[in-house]
């Protein structure tokens, strides 16, 4: 079943004057099509200058996060049939815009780098795999599904207010390693996430949980980090 939709898109074309405007495009889409299909169709048939990121087109690469009808989501995972006829699209909030729906994610990635985002274990590895029980693996199961699309951090009011805040995505990454039984750098990571820009700034607003396209309960993970930090005496950065 095909239907007309109006895509109202916030444009930012820095080489034009004025550089900012809203454009409306009316296009026909079928009930299986996604917002990303609509954007592609507009670019292909109406305005080649319309710019957005895309790659996998089925919710695993994290390229096409944007604000759709007021909520951060993946354009490739949002079916138009689930939206009203007027679809309003903006870039992810609170990051510098490069062009149209493409934001500069440098700050976002930098937060991630601050939590030592890699497995650290300097003990000589055994000949075979390190043993990890299914129960222990399940502790990190949700956190390893993060695709780093940026939806969570850019929906967080604390991040909006202070770009120094590590934000939900980076904290989730810290969780992923802290709760991995194979990792040995818990204290270093706790020191990094318990300072003034770390976990204590999370006020459990749950915006991140609401927007996460992988349905990760990020706030719950941050709460677990807080509990561990208290237990280990990391209440204000350094022990």
């Amino acid at each position: 079943m095909e239907k007309y939709y109006t895509f109202r898109i916030k444009r930012y074309l820095p080489e034009e004057n004025p550089s900012e405007r809203w454009d409306e495009f009316r296009i026909k889409l079928n009930s299986m099509e996604r917002v990303l299909d609509g954007l592609v169709k507009i670019k292909e048939t109406k305005d080649g200058t319309l710019t957005f990121r895309k790659s996998c087109a089925h919710g695993v690469c994290g390229s096409c996060a944007m604000k759709i009808n007021g909520k951060n989501r993946l354009a490739c995972q949002t079916l138009v049939k689930d939206l009203p006829e007027l679809i309003e699209i903006e870039p992810l909030p609170s990051l510098p815009v490069i062009k149209d729906l493409v934001v500069d994610m440098t700050i976002f990635y930098e937060k991630n780098d601050k939590v030592l985002p890699y497995l650290i274990n300097e003990e000589p590895p055994p000949e075979r795999e390190r043993i990890q029980s299914p129960e222990d693996q399940h502790k990190i199961l949700e956190s390893i599904t993060c695709i780093m699309c940026g939806s969570c951090t850019t929906s967080c009011p604390v991040f909006w207010a202070s770009k120094n805040y590590l934000g939900p995505s980076a904290l989730l990454k810290a969780f992923r390693f802290i709760f991995d039984t194979r990792d040995r750098a818990t204290d270093e990571r706790l020191a990094r996430i318990t300072g003034e820009n770390g976990i204590w700034r999370c006020h459990s607003i749950f915006n991140c949980v609401e927007v996460c396209p992988k349905e990760i309960d990020i706030t719950k993970h941050i709460l677990k980090l807080k509990r561990l930090a208290v237990k280990k005496g990391f209440t204000g950065g350094e022990k």
Partner: protein
């Protein structure tokens, strides 16, 4: 135009599994840069679902010898057995190393890496399916890619993200470096190097229905081909049996590994007729042909052009724990809950067996005699070692990327001390810049999307699972016409900031070149083998065609040479499952 110059000992194109694994190998031996046209973790490796193969024997008895045999047989005896043996024996330490690097594999009750069944993987040389695919639920590619990228970060690999490669510069017998564009501002960057490793992935986007990402367009292969370097076995392109109907989104073979079955419109488990021993877990070429045969003969669902993948009888807990991602895909995109309804599926363009010919150490070959391009390496889907021959087995691609990514990195590093620094000439840069400006300044009447759509539709129609001489010949004509139309394309976006329309145009030119190489290769191979099925030549013909195709672009057009298959242990036999 201002040119930004960089020097790195090793430059790697692509930040998927092969690129990241190569980078880890190179970083201790000199400076390394990795270029990606995306942000690294968005590389298409991340979409791999089902598993990575290794005869760990964690769940039941297994051996690398059986793995080798299965891969040889799966390749329809076109794979080079020396390379296959290396891969299957290296698989075990490779997976263990990945685990040590932090890959969050799913676990057995004893805490070992969990393994499951996959198509074409058997015990005792074909007797029954074996649990060989190591997995992290159905997000294995994502789990491995993140771990490798994280290790690259730990070791200080320098990434140039959102850089589009425009040319790979080979002068004489030696690579000099690459020319790339920073997508953010269209600035031109020249990377001179001693070694260049191409790990740019596949090119499924030349087909209309594909599991591949938008980024999988294959320009790096075309760049070499246009310089007169060969591509190998391009006629072999894999169609994955289970793509979501109408979308092509991948539903892992692991779904059948966990007990899923295929059923036709009459409710029959039709794979029993095509592969009586391993049924739904037959190799992908056979299952894809079986599905399309059922559909052609009117046994699709309600006589339509799809069949069902049925998971209703699979334990809900298994769906939740081992197949959560595909369960979600079905719900989101099809409105189908696999525990309650069967999933409509149809084959989808998935994987290129062919590619840049290399030896077992990733060195790029410039001819069938084994001569190489100094300093140039390739690994992963863009390369053809050949371990997959005419048909790749599921969970062997991730393995290929990591094993040969490492080997390419190692051999690149080992020659750094004696290699000379590459130099990219001004004239060469000027040609690239002129090409870009030509696209930007064109006033032609064609648009990129229209040419691309026609190409994708034609390739799907005439060069997919079933092929004929007539179809391929008319396809070659169509591609010629599309190339003429391509000369007339113009773009609306003339800006220098994040100009994706310009990049689409650049990619399309290369897609046309590659499509021609594929179609011509398919036309000349007058036999059926693995994924290449010629309706007019339905039998495998070992007497004439047990050899690799090398396709070249010469002044006089497309030309072919052939390289014998390396056969060590397993003599070609009839392929039955």
């Amino acid at each position: 135009m201002e040119i930004n110059k960089h020097y790195f000992d090793t430059v790697i194109i692509g930040s998927g599994l092969a690129g990241c694994r190569a980078a880890i190998e190179c970083i201790g031996n000199g400076s390394v840069a990795v270029l990606s046209k995306l942000y690294p973790t968005r590389s298409h490796s991340t979409a791999a679902q089902g598993g990575i193969g290794a005869a760990l024997g964690n769940e039941e008895e297994d051996s690398p010898e059986w793995h080798t045999y299965d891969t040889v047989k799966g390749s329809d005896f076109l794979g080079d057995q020396d390379a296959i043996e290396i891969m299957c024996y290296d698989a075990i330490p490779t997976i263990i190393e990945l685990e040590h690097m932090g890959v969050p594999f799913s676990r057995t009750p004893e805490g070992k890496i969990a393994q499951r069944r996959f198509g074409g993987h058997t015990r005792e040389f074909g007797k029954a399916p074996v649990r060989r695919a190591c997995y992290s639920a159905d997000r294995t590619g994502h789990a491995v890619l993140f771990a490798l990228y994280e290790q690259c970060q730990l070791k200080g690999v320098k990434f140039f993200q959102e850089f589009q490669v425009l040319d790979i510069v080979v002068e004489g017998d030696t690579v000099q470096g690459i020319i790339a564009m920073n997508i953010k501002d269209s600035s031109i960057h020249v990377f001179e190097a001693k070694a260049v490793i191409i790990a740019s992935g596949g090119y499924g986007k030349i087909f209309k229905v594909t599991s591949n990402a938008y980024a999988s367009t294959g320009e790096c292969l075309s760049m070499l081909f246009r310089q007169g370097l060969p591509l190998e076995d391009m006629e072999f392109f894999q169609f994955h049996p289970t793509g979501l109907y109408g979308l092509g989104i991948l539903i892992t073979e692991g779904a059948r590994g966990e007990g899923g079955i295929l059923i036709n419109g009459k409710g029959e488990r039709f794979m029993e007729r095509y592969a009586p021993t391993i049924k739904d877990l037959a190799p992908r070429d056979m299952v894809s042909r079986a599905i399309l045969t059922e559909i052609r003969e009117g046994r699709g669902i309600d006589g339509k052009d799809y069949v069902y993948l049925d998971l209703r009888h699979v334990d809900k807990k298994i769906l939740e724990e081992r197949l959560p991602e595909i369960t979600t895909f079905c719900k989101i995109y099809m409105g189908v809950d696999p525990s309650e309804s069967p999933i409509p599926i149809v084959p989808t363009a998935h994987y290129a067996m062919g590619g840049i010919p290399t030896d077992i150490d990733g060195r790029v070959l410039k001819d069938v005699d084994g001569s190489i391009v100094y300093g140039l390496y390739a690994a992963g889907e863009c390369a053809c070692v050949s371990v997959h021959g005419a048909n790749r087995l599921g969970c062997n691609s991730l393995l290929d990327t990591v094993v040969f990514g490492r080997r390419a990195g190692k051999s690149a590093s080992s020659t750094l001390r004696t290699a000379t620094k590459g130099g990219v000439k001004k004239e060469r840069i000027q040609i690239v810049v002129d090409c870009i400006n030509m696209i930007k300044n064109s006033n032609g009447r064609e648009i990129v999307a229209s040419v691309r759509k026609d190409l994708q539709a034609a390739m799907m129609d005439k060069c997919s699972v079933f092929r004929t001489e007539e179809g391929l010949k008319s396809l070659l004509e169509e591609i010629k016409q599309l190339k003429e139309r391509y000369k007339e394309i113009s773009i609306k976006d003339k800006s220098s900031r994040f100009n994706t329309e310009l990049l689409d145009a650049v990619e399309l030119g290369h897609m046309l070149t590659l499509s021609e190489a594929i179609t011509a290769s398919a036309l000349q191979r007058t036999e059926s083998r693995g994924a290449h099925y010629r309706e007019d030549y339905p039998k495998r013909d070992d007497e004439n065609w047990l050899k690799h195709t090398f396709v070249f672009l010469t002044d006089k057009g497309i030309n072919f040479k052939f390289k014998p298959v390396k056969i060590t242990r397993f003599k070609p036999e009839e392929r039955k499952y």
